[in-house]
Symmetry: C2
Subunit: 445 residues, 2 copies
C-alpha cells in the first residue's frame, strides 16, 4: 500500500510546550522539574488545556467517570484509530514521560481532522499512570476498563484517599467502586488500532543514533524480596569457612554472581533474549530498614547474620520470565544451603506483560520510517505503559485490539527526573510516524 | 622442670560470682545481661569489691591516675609475675568477658599468697577495655602506659567527656593528658611474665571439646569502608551488560566473591594461615545511612548506582595482613573498573597485632595442661585484649615483656551478649593453669 505521509513540524510541538512548560513546573524554569500528581489540580490543568484546544479545533471532548479525557473527531464511523498516554508525572519528574505522547497525538489528530478519512480518530488522556502518588500504576486506564479494585480507592496520597482526590477533580469514584468500566464494549469493538508514543526511558536509541523505536512488546515485572538469615559472630574469633561461619553477606554475594551467570548462560543461547534481571536493593530500602532491627545488628567486626535484596525480572514474555525465575529460585536455595544460611521469599508483585504488540502495525511503522527517511530499530519497552492495558483487552469476537507503541529517544536515557528531555525535533518525528499511521485505516486490521 | 601445680576449685570461683552477678546486672537475673560502661559507677563497684577482698587477703592495693586498680603481694622482690584483665562490659553484655580473668587472677594470687615464692605477684584490673562507651579500646591500659592521646579525653559517652567520667571515678585525667605513664619504667623492667585469662569469644574450643586454649598471638585489624559509585538507570529500559549498565550492586557481588576466592587461594597455600577476612556491612551502617541520601536512591526498579561495604582483615601478623590487603585492593580496583563503577576507600583503623606471644610460656602451658590432664589446643586470639599492649612494651634493655594468654571456652562461642557464659568449672580449670604458671618463677624468663 502506498504511504501517504503526514509530517508534523517541531514548531507545532513547541506551540503546545510553550504553554505546558508552565503547568506543574517547580520554580521558574522547566529545568527544575515538574510535579503533577495523579488526580491533582496540575494534572487537571493540563487536561483542561487540551479540552479547550480540542474545542478550538472542532473536536469533541468527553470526560469519563474516572476523570479521563477523550478527544474525538466529530464524524461517526464504525472504526476508530486512537492514541493515548498520560500527563501526570512522578514528583520532580520531567515534562516528556507521557506528555510527549499527548502533544504528538493531539497535533496528529488536529492535523488529520482536516482530511477525509473512513475512520474516526480519538485521543485518550489517561489519569495517573505513574504509581508514585497512590502506589498504583495506570489508575485512569484501569478504572476505564473496569479493572481498578475498590480497595485501591482507599489508598492515600497528600492527605487524601484516591476516592477523595478523584471527587475533587470532578470524577465519580462510586461508579469505579462498582467495577463498571467507563468504556463500553461496543467502543472497544470498534477500535481498529490503539497507539501510544512515548519517550524510550532508556539510552538504546540515543546510543545507536536511531530516531524512532518500534516497540516489539511491553515488559512486565516480577518483584521479590529475598531475606537471608545467617549467624552473627565475632569476626576475629570465628575461623573462616562454613564450618564456623554462616555469613549472610557472603551467601548474598555468591547468589548475586550465580544469578548473573545464569542470565549470561541464557543470553549465550539467545543473544536477543527479552529479559532483564536487576538487584536494585541490597539492604537499602529506607522504609524496610526503619522497621527492621536485624539489619542494624550487622557490624564491621561481626560475621553478617542478616541481609536482604530485591530481585526483579522484566520480560514481555511471562512464560519465559516464570521459567527463568524458577531456575533462579533453585540457585538461591542451593547457595543459601551451601553457606548455612536460611532464606525467605516475599513476593512484591507479579504482573503480565505484552509478549508481542501488533505485528502488522510494526511492519507498517517500518515502511513509514523508511519513506520518511527516519533511522529506526525494534526494541521492547522496558517500562510499563497505559497501552499495555488496551493490548490486554479483548473485543466481543475474542480478538485483541491491535496495539502499537512508538518510542522516541530521550537525552541520556533519563526519565523520572528533571533532566528528562526530548527535543521538539525528536517529538515531531515521532508525531509524524503517529500521524501517518493514523491517516490511513487500510492495512491496520 | 617439675610442675608443682595449684588447683583452683569451681567453688572458689562461684564464691566471687555470687556477689559479682549483682553488680551492673540488668534486671533480677544474670540472664538479662550486664552493663558496666568504662569509668562508670558499676565498673568502679566491681573494682572496689576486689580492693576490699584484697585487703581481707593480706594483699596491697594501688589505684593509679588512670583509675586502674593494681593488687599486689606484700613481699618485695626484684621480679614479678602478673596477670590482668578488665571488668567493664559492652551495653547488655555478659559477665565473663574480662571478669572471668579477674576472678581467676584474684583467686590464683590469693591462693599463692600463702606459699613461698622468689617473686612478687600482681593483678592489674584495667579500666574500660571495651570500645563501646567512648569508642576507644583499652583506655585504662593505654593511659597507664602513656599511650592515650589528649584528644581521647574529649570523647563523650552518656553526656560526659572521658575526662569528666575519669574524674567522677576518682582518677586524674590531667596526668593522663600530659602523656605521663602511670607505670614506671622500672616496674615494667621487673615484670617476668604478664598473663591474661579470657573467654575465647569464639566457638573453636567448644566445638573441638578443648578445656584450655593456649593463645599463639593476638590479632589486630585493618578496617576500611569501600564505596562504589555506579549509575542509577531504569531497570526495565536499560539492557543487561556493561555497555549500558554501571551496576554498583553487581560490582559489589563480584568483588566479594573475588575476595573470598583470594582468601581461599592463600589458605590453599597455608591451611593454618593466621588471617580472617570479614565483610560485616553491606549498606547496613545505621549512622552512615541516616546521613547518606545516595543509598536511598536505590530502588527495586533501578539499576543500582551506589553501594558500600566494610572490609576487615585480622591477623596477628601485620606484614601478612598488609600484603594481603594490597592484593585485595588491586582486586577491588580491577573489578570496579570492569563494571564501570568508581570507588573510594576510607580507612577506619589500622592497628598492630602481636605476631607471637611468648613461646617459652606457651610450651610451659602445654606441660601444665598435660600434668593437670586438661585437653588443650593452640589458637590465635581473634579479639583484641589488654595483654597486647603489655606485649608491645619494651623493657629498658630493649627486650619485650614475656606475655601470654589462656583461653577458656564460652557457651556457643557467644560474647558481648546476655547469652555469654562460661561455667565455674571451666573458669576454675583456666585459673588452675594460671595459678600453676604464677607459682614458679623459674623457666618463665
Amino acid at each position: 500500500m502506498t504511504i501517504v505521509s503526514t509530517t508534523i513540524t517541531p514548531q507545532e510541538i513547541e506551540a503546545h510546550y510553550s504553554v505546558l512548560n508552565r503547568i506543574g513546573v517547580l520554580g521558574d524554569h522547566p529545568n527544575a522539574g515538574f510535579t503533577r500528581a495523579a488526580y491533582s489540580d496540575e494534572e487537571s490543568a493540563v487536561m483542561h488545556y487540551f479540552a479547550v484546544q480540542a474545542e478550538q479545533n472542532g473536536l469533541i471532548t468527553r470526560w469519563d467517570a474516572a476523570g479521563n479525557l477523550f478527544i474525538e473527531t466529530t464524524d461517526r464511523h464504525e472504526q476508530w484509530i486512537e492514541c493515548g498516554s498520560h500527563v501526570d508525572t512522578v514528583p520532580a519528574g520531567g515534562n516528556f514521560d507521557g506528555l510527549a505522547g499527548i502533544v504528538a497525538g493531539f497535533v496528529a489528530i488536529a492535523t488529520l481532522n482536516q482530511k477525509t478519512r473512513s475512520h474516526g480518530l480519538r485521543l485518550r488522556i489517561w489519569r495517573g499512570e505513574e504509581s508514585a502518588s497512590f502506589g498504583i500504576t495506570s489508575i485512569g486506564a484501569s478504572a476505564a476498563l473496569g479493572k481498578l479494585s475498590a480497595d485501591s480507592l482507599k489508598k492515600r496520597h497528600a492527605g487524601r484517599s484516591l476516592a477523595q482526590a478523584m471527587r475533587e477533580q470532578g470524577a465519580d469514584p462510586s461508579l469505579i467502586e462498582s467495577g463498571q468500566p467507563t468504556i463500553e464494549q461496543n467502543e472497544l469493538n470498534q477500535i481498529s488500532a490503539h497507539l501510544e508514543l512515548h519517550i524510550e526511558q532508556g539510552i538504546v536509541l540515543e546510543k545507536e543514533d536511531k530516531e524512532i523505536g518500534i516497540v516489539s512488546g511491553i515488559r512486565a515485572s516480577s518483584r521479590d524480596w529475598i531475606t537471608l538469615h545467617g549467624a552473627f559472630d565475632h569476626s576475629g574469633a570465628t575461623p573462616m569457612g562454613t564450618t564456623y561461619r554462616r555469613d549472610a553477606n557472603l551467601a548474598l554475594a555468591y547468589i548475586l554472581v550465580a544469578l548473573d551467570e545464569l542470565f549470561s548462560s541464557y543470553q549465550k543461547e539467545n543473544p536477543d533474549i527479552d529479559l532483564v534481571q536487576t538487584i536494585g536493593h541490597i539492604n537499602s530500602n529506607r522504609e524496610k530498614n526503619e522497621h527492621d532491627k536485624q539489619l542494624y545488628n550487622n557490624a564491621i567486626s561481626k560475621v553478617s547474620g542478616y541481609a536482604y535484596f530485591s530481585f526483579e525480572l522484566r520480560s514481555c514474555d511471562d512464560i519465559l520470565r516464570n521459567r527463568y525465575k524458577q531456575k533462579a529460585m533453585q540457585i538461591i536455595q542451593h547457595i543459601a544451603t551451601e553457606y548455612g544460611v536460611s532464606f525467605e521469599i516475599e513476593t512484591v508483585s507479579n504482573s503480565s506483560g505484552v509478549k508481542s504488540l501488533d505485528q502488522p502495525i510494526q511492519r507498517r511503522m517500518q515502511s513509514i520510517c523508511e519513506s520518511l527517511d527516519y533511522s529506526h530499530r525494534t526494541l521492547p519497552s522496558g517500562a510499563w505503559h497505559d497501552a499495555a492495558l488496551i493490548a490486554q483487552q479483548t473485543r466481543s469476537d475474542q480478538t485483541t485490539i491491535p496495539t502499537a507503541m512508538i518510542f522516541i529517544p530521550c537525552l541520556n536515557g533519563k526519565s523520572h527526573s528533571p533532566e528528562e528531555f526530548a527535543s521538539a525535533e525528536q517529538i515531531a518525528k515521532g508525531a509524524s510516524v503517529l500521524a501517518t499511521l493514523m491517516q490511513q485505516h487500510v492495512g491496520l486490521v
